[in-house]
């Protein structure tokens, strides 16, 4: 595909939602002015932008803290989740024991444990990372495990005909087939991680966007709060894109198989 056609496609794909967002922002600005709402109730987009520019250095610092917590927890969680899934899939006994337990744990909102982590680990960055690990590990574990276990029977039969060992089946069939599931779960986990980091900061912190949101809301500085919120959204979008991009690069066979 040449660049021009590519750009054309992107335009076709994203233009409608872009226009929609712009219209929404304009409507917002218009309504705030129409009813002349005070800033502490709902700041207009223009005010938020102004605040953003004014505090950009500080905001950037707090953003980097949150990004660091999010990504480091996410990576540890993803790697641990993957390794655990591989271990569990290797044994029928482990699978039968742990799978139901995992499903139950997955439906518990683990962010509710945030206060405990603060108690155990203090106010620093560590408890936030721990929460992030905790929330990101389960989607990866459960989805990857599913992908590892539910492999096409014919592929397993094929391996049996050639007397493949369990390890060979794992590396040549199970792990590759589970990778699409793994990447799907990463997309869920990365969003969970952002939420995990923020909740950790809400509960007790002296830096990070969650901290900024807490402080600015208690000062009724709604503009600053919204600026932080938008940055948070941007982090989410950026991280999701990162995951999608790495999926496209690492699993070309999967993406194209879907397109076809």
């Amino acid at each position: 595909m040449d660049l021009k056609r590519r750009l054309g496609l992107i335009k076709e794909k994203y233009l409608p939602s872009l226009v929609f967002i712009i219209l929404l922002v304009l409507l917002w600005e218009f309504l705030v002015r129409l009813f002349s709402l005070p800033e502490y109730i709902l700041p207009s987009p223009l005010m938020i932008a102004r605040t953003f520019l004014k505090f950009r250095k500080i905001l950037l610092f707090h953003t980097s803290v949150t990004v660091f917590e999010t990504l480091s927890g996410f990576m540890v969680g993803a790697i641990l989740g993957f390794i655990l899934a591989v271990f569990i899939c290797m044994s029928d006994f482990f699978y039968r024991t742990f799978y139901p337990v995992l499903i139950v744990i997955q439906s518990i909102p683990k962010v509710a444990l945030a206060p405990f982590f603060i108690i155990w680990m203090g106010f620093g960055i560590l408890p936030k990372i721990a929460i992030t690990v905790l929330v990101s590990i389960f989607p990866v574990l459960v989805n990857t495990l599913h992908g590892l276990v539910f492999v096409k029977q014919e592929l397993i039969d094929l391996m049996k005909v050639f007397h493949a060992s369990k390890i060979q089946v794992l590396f040549k069939i199970r792990i590759p087939s589970s990778l699409p599931f793994f990447f799907t779960s990463l997309k869920i986990s990365i969003i969970f991680s952002v939420v995990g980091a923020i909740i950790g900061e809400f509960v007790g912190a002296n830096k990070g966007l969650g901290y900024v949101i807490m402080i600015s809301s208690s000062n009724l500085n709604t503009s600053l709060m919204f600026a932080a919120l938008f940055l948070l959204g941007a982090i989410g979008v950026f991280c999701s894109l990162l995951v999608s991009l790495s999926e496209k690069m690492l699993l070309p066979w999967h993406k194209e198989a879907k397109d076809a």
Partner: protein, 251 residues
């Protein structure tokens, strides 16, 4: 060397799950001569796939006995008597054509007679497609890859489970011809499962007709059409007669 390559002796198979049992195969006996082309035809669900899996030793347990080359089947499996083409092409989507064909080589480090992958690719007519990924292949080409992969260890028995089922009439006819050419070239014993009666008759020396579930042998038809067979074969009056007779048997 015994003349009989495969002997199927009173094979029976039941699947049991959730306290229900399903009898799939019942008292099946037949034999396959060395170097011959034999087809199994029968209605969907009569246990053809199951029978192939029992023969190559990947569906246990079962009653009865399988002799391969005069030996009990379990030992035979270890010696790589079998190449198998499954009902679905079952290629690994993350490997290109070349690496899919070579997969069996990676699984077995011990030395045994094998084809050179390049020769095999030429044999099945995939030259120039070595680097192509499975999702970029047509169904016919996928079938060719699956055949090449099954042949890599130069198996003395090639099992094929409805390998050409998803193909249009013309591709199917072409692949039938090519299969006969490959069979002649590598001189292996073929056991071929199909729904398609005229395909079975066109290819085979002998046809095993199974009854609906539980599958038993309804009839064994010997096909005495001359070889080599080509497009003209299907027009021979003898061919048409055998097809008619076999149709009646199945309906």
């Amino acid at each position: 060397m015994p003349e009989k390559m495969i002997e199927v002796l009173k094979i029976g198979k039941e699947f049991t799950n959730n306290f229900k049992s399903l009898e799939v195969l019942k008292d099946i006996s037949f034999s396959v001569n060395r170097g011959s082309f034999t087809s199994i035809v029968g209605m969907s669900g009569c246990g053809k796939t199951t029978l192939l899996k029992i023969i190559c030793g990947i569906s246990n347990p079962y009653s009865g006995q399988i002799l391969i080359n005069g030996e009990a089947a379990l030992k035979a499996g270890k010696n790589h008597y079998f190449g198998i083409v499954f009902q679905e092409p079952t290629l690994l989507p993350w490997r290109n054509v070349y690496n899919n064909i070579e997969l069996p080589l990676e699984l077995n480090s011990c030395p045994r007679t094998k084809f050179k992958t390049d020769d095999l690719i030429r044999l099945v007519g995939l030259k120039g497609f070595e680097d192509v990924m499975p999702h970029e292949l047509s169904a016919g080409m996928k079938a060719r890859v699956a055949i090449a992969r099954a042949l890599i260890f130069h198996p003395s028995i090639l099992l094929m489970d409805e390998a050409f089922n998803n193909l249009d009439e013309i591709t199917r006819g072409n692949l039938n011809l090519e299969l006969l050419r490959i069979w002649k070239e590598i001189k292996t014993t073929v056991l071929f499962v199909t729904h398609n009666i005229s395909e079975a008759i066109f290819l085979s020396d002998r046809i095993i007709v199974l009854t609906p579930r539980p599958g038993t042998v309804r009839k064994v038809i010997d096909v005495d059409l001359p070889r080599p067979r080509d497009k003209q074969t299907r027009r021979l009056p003898e061919f048409i007669e055998i097809v008619e007779n076999a149709r009646e048997l199945l309906s």
